[in-house]
C-alpha cells in the first residue's frame, strides 16, 4: 500500500512536473507572442491588411480599377482611410459599408446582393436552370421519337405473336465489342 502510494506520488509529481514545464513553456511563448497582438491592436496596421480589404473595393473615380492596384494619389488616400478605420478597430463589413454609403455600389468589387443588383446574381443561375431544362426536354423528345420509330417498325397485324424488336443499344454495343475484339 505504501509502495502504491509512493508510486502514485512519484507518478503524480512526474505529471505535475511535466504539466508545470508545459505551462511555463506556454507562458514564455505567450510572452513572446503577445507583443505582436499588442502591436496590431495599438494601430500598427500592415499594408497587407489594408490591401486585403482594398481588394474587395474598386476605385470610385477611375475606370474599373481595383483599389489595391490603383496608383493614383486619390486611391492612396482612400487606402489611408482604410488604414485609419482598421486602426480604429472597424471590421471589413463596416469599412465596405462606409464605401458603399459614400460612393455608391460602383466602389464595391461585387455588386451588393440586394435590390436591383440582386439580379446580377440571380440571372446566371436562372439562365443555367432554363438552359438545362431546354436541353433536357430536347433529349427527352429525341428519345420519344426513337421509341415511336421502333414501335412503328414492328409489324402491327400479324397472325403470329410479334417478336420483340431488339433494342438498338444492345445491338450496337455488341457490334462495338466484336469490332474491338477484331482489333486485338
Amino acid at each position: 500500500m505504501a509502495s502504491l502510494r509512493a508510486q502514485w506520488n512519484t507518478n503524480h509529481s512526474r505529471i505535475l512536473f511535466r504539466l508545470g514545464f508545459l505551462f511555463g513553456a506556454l507562458l514564455c511563448l505567450a510572452i513572446l507572442v503577445l507583443p505582436a497582438f499588442a502591436q496590431a491592436g495599438s494601430g500598427q496596421v500592415t499594408d497587407d491588411e489594408v490591401n486585403a480589404i482594398a481588394k474587395g473595393l474598386y476605385c470610385p473615380i477611375c475606370e474599373s480599377t481595383p483599389l489595391d492596384v490603383c496608383a493614383t494619389q486619390a486611391c492612396a488616400d482612400w487606402r489611408q482611410v482604410i488604414r485609419t478605420k482598421l486602426g480604429e478597430g472597424q471590421t471589413e463589413a463596416e469599412i465596405k459599408a462606409y464605401f458603399l454609403d459614400q460612393y455608391g455600389p460602383r466602389a464595391l468589387a461585387e455588386p451588393p446582393r440586394s435590390g436591383v443588383t440582386l439580379t446580377v446574381w440571380l440571372l446566371p443561375i436562372l439562365a443555367l436552370i432554363v438552359g438545362g431544362i431546354i436541353l433536357l426536354r430536347y433529349f427527352r423528345n429525341s428519345r420519344t421519337t426513337k421509341a415511336e420509330e421502333s414501335v412503328a417498325v414492328a409489324p402491327i397485324e400479324s397472325p403470329v405473336p410479334a417478336k420483340e424488336v431488339p433494342e438498338d443499344g444492345d445491338y450496337r454495343s455488341r457490334i462495338e465489342s466484336e469490332l474491338r475484339d477484331m482489333k486485338r
Binding site: 497587407d48 474587395g56 474598386y58 475606370e63 474599373s64 492596384v69 468589387a109 433529349f139 429525341s142
Partner: protein
C-alpha cells in the same frame, strides 16, 4: 498635299464600297453576271486605296508633320522610328483606319478566291461584306478623319441642329489650313511604347475582322438558299485563323498586363477584356459546332446563330472599346462614333433576324440526336456550356449600362463574380473535353464508355490523393487538378491509341507513327494538341489563382522582408533620365530562396513628365515552379530612402504561357494544308462539276 491625297483615297474607297453593293444587288436582281463582277472588282480596289492611305499617314508621322492633328497626338520629335510606325494604331482615328485596312485586306482576299461551285453566293457575299466596309469607312471618312488638320472645329449643338452643323463644319474642316503649327507632338501614350502592347491591337483586330468573313459567307449562303456544307468548307481556315489571332491577342494582352501594368495578375475581367473574350467564346463554339453540320447535316440553326452572335459581339466589342460604352481602363478614346456603332449594330441585328426568319426552311436538320451518349450530344453540350459562359460574361460586362440608365448609379461587376460562376462552367467544359473524343456518332455504349473512363478516373484520383499527402489541402485546387489530370490522360490516350494502331499495322517506329498519325489527320490531332494546351494552361491558372501569396511592406534601406521560402533585401535606389521625357526610378533588391542568394532584381517606376503619366514596371524572376514578382510602389527621398514594395509569389504561372504556346502550335497543325487532302478535294470537286454538267450558276 499628302494628307489630302490620303483623304481622297479613303473617300474613293468609301464610294467604291457603296458602288459594290449597288452593282452586286443590281446584278443579282437582273441576273447579269457582269454587274456582279463589277461589284467584285470594286471590293478588290478598296484594299490598295486603304493601304495607300495608311502609308501616307505613316509618312506624315515619320515626317513629324504636326499640322495634322493625329500626328501631333500620337508622336513627338523624340519618338523612336519603330514606334512612329506603330503609332498608326496608337490613337482613335488611326486605330479605326487600321481596322479598315485589315477589313479591306481580308475582304479582298475572300472575294479574290476562285468561286467555282460557290458562284451563286458570291453576289450576296459582296453585298454583306461591302455593307460592313461602308460602315467602317464611313466612320473613318466622316467622323474620325486621321488626316484632319490641327485646330479642327467641333460641330456645336444638339439634335436636330447637329444635322446641319455637322456636315457644314465637316466641310469647313476639310479646307482648314492651320496658321499655327505646334513645334512638337504630344508623344505616344506611354502604355503603348512596350513591345507586347505594340502587337496586341493588331492581333485582336486580325481576330475581330477575321470573324466577319465566315459571317459574310454564312449569311450569303443562307440568303442564296445554299446553306448546306459548302460555305463551311470555304470558311474553315478563315475561322481557324481568326480564332487563332483572337486567342493570341487575348494571351498577349494578358502577358502584357502581367509584364508591364504591374498589378501581379494577367486577367481582370475588365469590360474591354471581356469584349474580346466574348466573340472568342462563341467563336470556339462555332468552330466545334460546324463539324456536326459537315458530318451529319445537323445543327444548322445553331451554326448560323453562333456566327451571327460572334459577328454582333465583334461589332459590340468595337463599340465598347472605341466608343466607351462601359468605361474601363482601356477607354482612353471616347468620342461620337459610339452612337453610330450602336446604330450599325442594331441594323445588323435586324438584318440577321430578318434573313434567318425568311430562310428558316434552310435551317432544318436532316438528322437528329438519337442518344444522349453520342458525339452529337457532346457537341450540343459544348455549345450549351460555351453559350452559358458567354451569357454570364456578357451580362456581367454590360449590366452596368442599363443599371446606370435606370437607377443613375454605376455598378461594378468585378472579378469575384466571374471567377465563381465561370469557374464552375469552365470546369464542366474541361471534363467534357476529355470525354468527348471517346463518344461515337449516333450512340455510344454506356458500358464501354464507363470502362474506358475507369482507368483515367482511378489514375486522376490517385494523383490527387498523392497531392493531398504532399500538402495540397484546398479542395477547389484538388478538384481542379483532378479534372485536369483526368482529361489530360484521356486526350493523351487518343495519341497513344492511334499511334499504337499504326505501329501494329504498319510496323512504324513510335515516333514515325505519331508523326504520320498527326499529319494524316491534322484537324483532329491538331485539335487534341490544342486541348492539351488548354489543360496545361488550366493547371497554371488553378495553381496561381488559388496559391498566390502576396505582401506589401515598407522597407528601410538594407532591411529585408520574408515571403514563403523567399526573402528580399532592399539595397538601394536611383533616379535616371530616360529617352524623350522619361524619368526612371529604379530600386535594387536582392532575392534569396531558403537563405541562398538567387539574383538581384530592379523594379522601377517610369514617369513620363510631359503627360505626367506614371507606370510601375515589375521585376520578375521566373521559373517553372513560380514567379517572384516585385513592384516598387512608393519611395521616400527625404527619410532613409525607405521604399514600399509589393511582392507576389505566383506558383506555376509559367505553365500558363507554356500552355499557350502548345495551344498555338496545335492550331497551326490543325490549319496546315495537307497535300493528300487537297488532291482528294480537287478530285471530288471535278467529279461534281462533271455531274452537274457545268451549270454551276443555278
Amino acid at each position: 498635299m499628302i494628307a489630302d491625297l490620303g483623304y481622297a483615297a479613303l473617300l474613293i474607297a468609301f464610294l467604291a464600297a457603296i458602288y459594290a453593293v449597288a452593282a452586286a444587288a443590281h446584278g443579282v436582281r437582273t441576273k447579269q453576271s457582269r454587274w456582279v463582277e463589277s461589284g467584285r472588282h470594286a471590293t478588290l480596289i478598296i484594299f490598295p486605296l486603304v493601304v495607300l492611305a495608311c502609308g501616307l499617314l505613316v509618312t506624315l508621322i515619320l515626317r513629324n508633320d504636326y499640322s495634322i492633328h493625329y500626328v501631333w497626338s500620337v508622336s513627338s520629335l523624340g519618338t523612336p522610328t519603330y514606334l512612329k510606325v506603330t503609332a498608326l494604331w496608337g490613337g482613335q482615328a488611326g486605330s479605326v483606319l487600321f481596322f479598315n485596312l485589315i477589313l479591306a485586306g481580308f475582304t479582298a482576299a475572300a472575294m479574290a478566291r476562285k468561286w467555282d461551285n460557290e458562284l451563286p453566293i458570291m453576289p450576296y457575299a459582296i453585298i454583306i461584306a461591302s455593307i460592313t466596309q461602308i460602315f467602317f469607312l464611313f466612320l473613318t471618312v466622316f467622323l474620325e478623319n486621321p488626316f484632319a488638320r490641327i485646330g479642327a472645329v467641333v460641330a456645336e449643338g444638339g439634335f436636330p441642329a447637329i444635322l446641319i452643323n455637322g456636315p457644314v463644319t465637316y466641310i469647313q474642316n476639310l479646307f482648314l489650313r492651320p496658321e499655327f503649327v505646334p513645334p512638337d507632338g504630344q508623344g505616344l501614350n506611354p502604355l503603348l511604347r512596350h513591345p507586347g502592347m505594340i502587337i496586341h491591337p493588331p492581333m485582336l483586330y486580325l481576330g475581330y475582322v477575321g470573324f466577319t468573313i465566315p459571317f459574310v459567307f454564312a449569311m450569303a449562303a443562307l440568303i442564296a438558299r445554299r446553306f448546306d456544307r459548302g460555305w463551311i468548307r470555304i470558311t474553315r481556315r478563315w475561322t481557324l485563323a481568326a480564332w487563332l489571332f483572337l486567342g493570341v491577342g487575348l494571351i498577349l494582352g494578358g502577358r502584357w498586363a502581367y509584364d508591364v501594368l504591374g498589378w501581379g495578375g494577367y486577367w481582370a475581367w475588365d469590360p474591354v477584356e471581356n469584349s474580346s473574350l466574348l466573340p472568342w467564346l462563341t467563336g470556339t463554339a462555332f468552330l466545334h459546332s460546324v463539324v456536326i453540320q459537315e458530318k451529319r447535316h445537323m445543327f444548322k440553326g445553331w451554326n448560323i446563330t453562333l456566327i451571327i452572335v460572334t459577328y454582333l459581339l465583334v461589332v459590340l466589342g468595337t463599340l465598347n472599346v472605341r466608343g466607351g460604352l462601359v468605361s474601363s481602363v482601356h477607354a482612353f478614346a471616347q468620342s461620337n462614333i459610339g452612337w453610330f456603332l450602336l446604330a450599325f449594330w442594331t441594323f445588323m441585328i435586324f438584318f440577321s433576324i430578318y434573313w434567318v426568319y425568311q430562310r428558316r426552311d434552310q435551317l432544318k436538320s436532316t438528322g437528329e440526336i438519337k442518344s444522349f451518349w453520342s458525339r452529337e450530344s457532346a457537341f450540343m453540350l459544348n455549345n450549351f456550356f460555351f453559350l452559358m459562359i458567354t451569357a454570364v460574361t456578357f451580362f456581367g460586362t454590360y449590366f452596368p449600362v442599363p443599371t446606370e440608365l435606370f437607377t443613375g448609379q454605376k455598378v461594378t461587376v468585378g472579378a469575384p463574380f466571374y471567377e465563381l460562376v465561370n469557374g464552375v462552367l469552365f470546369a464542366c467544359l474541361l471534363i467534357l473535353m476529355g470525354i468527348a473524343p471517346l463518344t461515337m456518332w449516333y450512340r455510344t455504349s454506356t458500358r464501354w464508355l464507363g470502362r474506358m473512363i475507369l482507368g483515367p478516373l482511378a489514375a486522376a484520383t490517385l494523383a490527387v490523393v498523392i497531392l493531398f499527402i504532399f500538402g495540397v489541402r484546398n479542395w477547389i485546387a484538388l478538384l481542379g487538378f483532378w479534372i485536369v489530370i483526368f482529361s489530360l490522360i484521356l486526350t493523351l490516350f487518343e495519341f497513344f491509341k492511334g499511334a499504337s494502331a499504326r505501329m501494329r499495322s504498319k510496323g512504324e517506329s513510335p515516333f514515325a507513327a505519331l508523326a504520320a498519325l498527326i499529319s494524316r489527320n491534322r484537324r483532329r490531332y491538331g485539335g487534341y494538341i490544342i486541348h492539351i494546351g488548354v489543360l496545361v494552361m488550366a493547371f497554371g491558372i488553378i495553381s496561381t489563382e488559388l496559391y498566390q501569396q502576396e505582401t506589401q511592406v515598407r522597407l528601410a534601406r538594407g532591411s529585408s522582408v520574408e515571403i514563403g521560402d523567399f526573402s528580399m533585401t532592399y539595397t538601394g535606389i536611383e533616379v535616371n533620365a530616360g529617352a524623350d521625357d522619361l524619368m526612371i526610378t529604379s530600386a535594387n533588391v536582392d532575392v534569396y530562396k531558403n537563405g541562398e542568394f538567387i539574383r538581384s532584381l530592379t523594379p522601377r517606376t517610369e514617369l513620363y513628365t510631359r503627360t505626367r503619366q506614371p507606370m510601375t514596371i515589375p521585376a520578375v524572376r521566373s521559373t517553372l515552379t513560380e514567379d517572384f514578382y516585385v513592384i516598387l510602389v512608393n519611395w521616400e527621398s527625404s527619410t532613409n530612402e525607405a521604399a514600399t514594395f509589393r511582392i507576389f509569389l505566383n506558383p506555376m504561372i509559367n505553365w500558363v504561357w507554356s500552355g499557350a504556346l502548345i495551344f498555338i502550335a496545335g492550331t497551326l497543325v490543325a490549319a496546315w494544308r495537307d497535300p493528300a487532302d487537297e488532291k482528294i478535294k480537287a478530285a471530288a470537286g471535278a467529279r461534281s462539276r462533271l455531274a452537274v454538267g457545268g451549270a454551276a450558276g443555278d
